[in-house]
Amino acid sequence: MNAAMIQIIVVCLVELVKAFPAIEQAVAQFIANISQTVPFTTEQLETLKITKSPENY
């Protein structure tokens, strides 16, 4: 496969995505999700624990 063929395939894929708004939206959402994803540290997740027992209210 040469560079020209790859270019044609890429153009076709881009046009295909453009032709179907749902696909375009899904791709945009996926990219947005990836960019917003911030990994949690164990310490951060530890703060989700409940430490106060019912008797202490």
Binding site: F30, N33, L45, L48, I50, K52, S53, P54
Partner: protein, 132 residues
């Protein structure tokens, strides 16, 4: 490097990104659910303490609520432990454990909410968001 090899590596990289994004999505949703769960517990116990102070419930009722709230607290903390494990490993087996633990916490919340809402209707949200 051959073009075929390059495409294989590219495909693997895309799959890896999709898999990691999927894992991160579950961790974020679970963390949001458990954060809400912790706030709900606090609301439940504050409401219960207020009801007791106001003389609406006696010690026996308080003990009954404390009992289900303790079960809920333990279920919640088990779910947090499962989330910590899954966040570290990203293994399918840990994902299943996390889902099961959150479902148990959701079920335990229904008992707490049912008991408190029977005394003070609408005091607590009846459902804990799934987030999965």
């Amino acid at each position: 490097m051959s073009l075929k090899k390059r495409y294989s590596y590219g495909l693997c990289a895309i799959l890896l990104v999709i898999m990691l994004a999927g894992c991160a999505h579950l961790v974020q949703n679970s963390a949001a659910t458990l954060s809400a769960s912790k706030n709900f517990y606090d609301l439940a116990m504050t409401t219960t303490a207020d009801l007791q102070k106001a003389g609406v419930i006696d010690q026996a009722k308080r003990d009954q609520i404390n009992g289900v709230a303790t079960i809920y607290m333990k279920a919640h903390n088990v779910a947090v432990d499962a989330l910590i494990t899954y966040n570290a490993t990203n293994l399918a087996v840990d994902k299943d454990k996390l889902s099961t633990a959150i479902l148990k916490a959701i079920a335990a919340w229904a008992d707490v909410a049912g008991l408190v809402n029977a005394i003070k209707p609408g005091a607590l949200p009846t459902k804990l968001g799934g987030g999965l």
